[in-house]
Symmetry: D2
Subunit: 323 residues, 4 copies
């Protein structure tokens, strides 16, 4: 087991960076081009407050699918577990994140889980508020508290790109409207969904989200309990089985802790009771996960013994100075 | 948090037993009939060796799908992780355990994971030995060591029933033979698979398997390391995402630890570093999981704080006298 | 073989009317309610110009899916066979008319054929014109010539209903926009599609369309050739294999001539070289075909020996005074 | 319209032969290799008894899937239409001939139609007889009468190849056994199916089968009615919608008459009231149809005006000296 230091993280970054070569930058995102392909950055915050970071690309990128876990938390707050899971399932699905076939295959036309696009659109329709503006403001307030970062905001440019490239998500939303799965108007649900995906965060912010989940929902400033622990357990369990698109099983084996990725190349990792991890590596594989970022996550798991299925996992927590 | 005692377990059994009413006994299994529908039994063994048990139905039942985790361990031993996962995937699948469509849907015709029937048949073909007899003997030797029970044996009656009801599994095996996924002759692979499913175990044996995984692969008598820890982490991660048929996501949320069920009504639970759990409740739901047994597993998770996604999970281990 | 007379048709109507009981009226269509459930009407026009009719419900109803064959003819005129079938296939599909899974299952995401909703939406995008208004006007001009009925027009009420119930078709259109299958903007393609479905026709008009196909594309007034015969052969072949939703195979066997149905309860039949048939029976089965109308079509085939797979089919044409 | 002569057929053969280049010879069939790739032969017999033929490869080849129409005729004779279509559907299916997913997708697990492998296996189980030997003898008797060729027999070599390459068909049969669709033992149904596929016929024999269907089921020697006309209409309708694998829609449009192909490169065409066509061209496309043979079929349709959807089709019959 290696010691968690900034120097160690620099080494880990350099070991993982070559994996960027096998990925592709998502050129549909504003500001994303080949020049950032090899970028790789990591931030780690432990539950006792120590911060570590390494790598380049210290900039703000769109949340993309990492917004799905924030939306799920808010919907669980607003409607409770029973109501949320009447609308969306909690089962992993062996198919691509934008699959529509599954909606048709099952009688209920319930999306498999909140981590796939259809599921997240259905969940976003459950966030309370009198209109899209208001509901998005609630999302931002919650996110700013979680990350302790009042400066977070949506990129209009990304939002416009989301909207104009949104035909597939529109197809999903209208399908769910036709079956009654979607409780809101399709265009409104999509509007909120596109906004949520377009919020810009830096690597430290992603780590903060992971930490919030790892530490049990406390406001990092005030230690106020923002959301009950059982909701966070639910979110982490779903991240474990479905958070890394249709490589989630692979990451459950190779990383062994809850993660959520986005096609902007971000990954949020959360190790209960120990730490939150944020990773940014823009080159993604065909399933949507950062190639260098994924390699880094697996390396961290091994070197820092973060795998929750390890027998001695519980002892390691003390080792990183937490327990 | 409740204290783990025999009295507590008796209470938990009586709380969970009514859920048997919503299930059905699998009448295709020899000896299974309506008279055993309300049976429910649990055994727990902690990593420091304490044993607890409660309930009725203290008898031997067929392993059925719980054999899948034993077969996977043996194949990992024999061929290593890379080779095994060339033949079978590690991704959860949102479909029934005997689905054949998925084999046709994907280019590779690789079964999604080793916990579904197709995957387990493909994996059983990887257990080394010069013939079926010999390969099955290796399976039994390994299982007897894991459970520390030399008396385990296969039921010929169950085996005959498996064979004569085996058309769906035959269909899966021949499909995989036609695509080259199956490395052995279909009938031989099936023969071994049917035998493995037909081994009889009692509740304590199931708990022993869970403990073996929880404690890191040590022979319970000699403390000899029978299998590397990293293979056990792999098995537990796959149990978490795929062990409870297509309710695996539900159990990841509601139990929060690796489980594997069988249509005989058995469930093996494994809480890393803490304990192994065996449950027998013959009434199963439409997905194949024991209804009363599943309710019990979820109750135990809550009362004993076994959910690995809980922030304080690591502290609970000490509470049950282990850490 | 029975003689084709109005009296015969009255008998055939009364024989078929009881089948209405097993169907349901499509209540989402304006003016459709239980009071019209038992309505049944037929019109037949032979290629030598004789007209026959019987039954009640002599009123105008929305074309619904029968518009698909008009749209296909116009697209074939505008772009030719090669171009049209680059966008849509010509293979029958064993699934419901509004299926979206098939778009995802195949690499090309080409709709199976122009008789299913996705295919018809894609085809409507191929009708030339500078805007939706203009393209729809061309459709109406063509339809009025075919039916020799200058009074045909769209129902605004039906069009509004189509639009407000159009979520499933929107889902199909946006899916095809996301894959590039749709050559027009999704909302524009849908607008034209909804208008086409909302044109009102009477039973005689439906028969006229069947006759147009049966007689080789001649303007009924002027004998001017409106469309090449080979395009009409294509349309009739596709009606035979795909015109009756996923009962098309059944109708190929039991009727044996090209038909196209709509969920308004209309059926257009076309017997090459012999006659066109129009049927209206508002009670439809779960696949979308008129139950009484379908029974009538099968009865006519048998009594008048209209089955094209019959050995003596070619002789029958003379029998009805045509050849 | 061209005149049907041997000289014309020689020209048509030479025009179509180049299409062999885009196909592949099915090397799993005994005696099939690259040397026969460019072979192409045609036989035509009109309903008034005239015979025409051209091309090379005048030898016996295995029936393969063309046996499916013989098996269907016999099952219809033995059990009637209602019973047969309780076991198998009559709907075309937009998928490959050996698809197993469709069996799982629909509640009934009824194969879509008798022209796909699953459907033909289920139908072969309906051919009466006290054992496989006896049932196959009935098949041979019927086939010899239809073709007026007492010398037809099964190739043991092909039969052995069918059996040893039969894993996919075994998978289909066992699946249908598991759902109760198959009324016979899977191995027995397969044995008969493999035998039927292994009967050797020459081009003239294939044309005779087409003629038998075209002429209404008369014994070509005695004019005895061997099977009711309505059964033949059923078979021809199903050939039209499903006889050319998942190119059936294409052939309905481009040929416009009932055809059935086999992966040995054979095609049987039947033009009701006019003629039977046999074609042999061993190079097949990815869907299983002879590439040069298919091109020839389409050319014959155009040149001889065989398209049944043509308005003047009924007049053409007289032109070839039949009517």
């Amino acid at each position: 087991m290696k010691e968690l230091t900034n120097d160690y993280l620099e080494e880990a970054i350099e070991d993982s960076r070559p994996y960027a070569a096998s990925g592709k930058v998502n050129l549909s995102l504003p500001g994303y081009d080949e020049t950032i392909k090899d970028d790789l950055r990591v931030s780690i915050i432990t539950t006792n407050g120590s911060c570590f970071s390494a790598g380049n690309n210290n900039r703000y990128i769109p949340m993309q699918s990492t917004s799905k876990i924030i939306g799920l938390m808010l919907a669980l707050q607003d409607f409770g577990k029973n109501r949320v899971f009447q609308t969306v399932g909690m089962e992993p699905m062996g198919d691509f994140f934008n699959s529509i076939s599954q909606l048709e295959s099952y009688d209920t036309s319930k999306p498999f889980n909140p981590m796939i696009n259809a599921g997240a659109i259905a969940v976003s329709a459950l966030i309370k508020g009198k209109n899209v503006e208001n509901r998005f403001n609630r999302y931002m307030d919650f996110l700013r508290k979680i990350t302790n970062n009042d400066h977070l905001k949506m990129s209009k440019e990304v939002y416009e790109a989301e909207k104009s490239n949104g035909a597939r998500n529109r197809s999903l939303a209208y399908f769910m409207q036709s079956t009654g799965t979607l409780v809101a108007d399709a265009e409104e649900a999509l509007d909120l969904y596109f906004r949520m995906n377009s919020v810009m965060m830096c690597c430290h912010d992603f780590a903060r989200v992971g930490l919030f989940l790892a530490k049990g929902g406390l406001d990092l400033e005030t230690d106020e309990k923002l959301i009950p622990s059982h909701h966070l357990r639910t979110v982490k369990a779903i991240m474990m089985s479905s958070g890394m698109y249709n490589s989630s099983g692979h990451y459950a084996v190779e990383a062994g802790f809850p993660c959520k990725s986005g096609v902007s190349g971000s990954i949020i990792g959360s190790i209960p009771g120990r730490m939150g991890i944020g990773v940014i590596g823009p080159a993604i594989d065909e399933k949507g996960n950062s190639t260098a970022g994924g390699a880094l996550i697996k390396k961290l798991s091994q070197d820092l013994e973060l795998n929750m299925f390890g027998v001695d996992y519980t002892d390691r927590r003390r080792a990183d100075g937490v327990g």
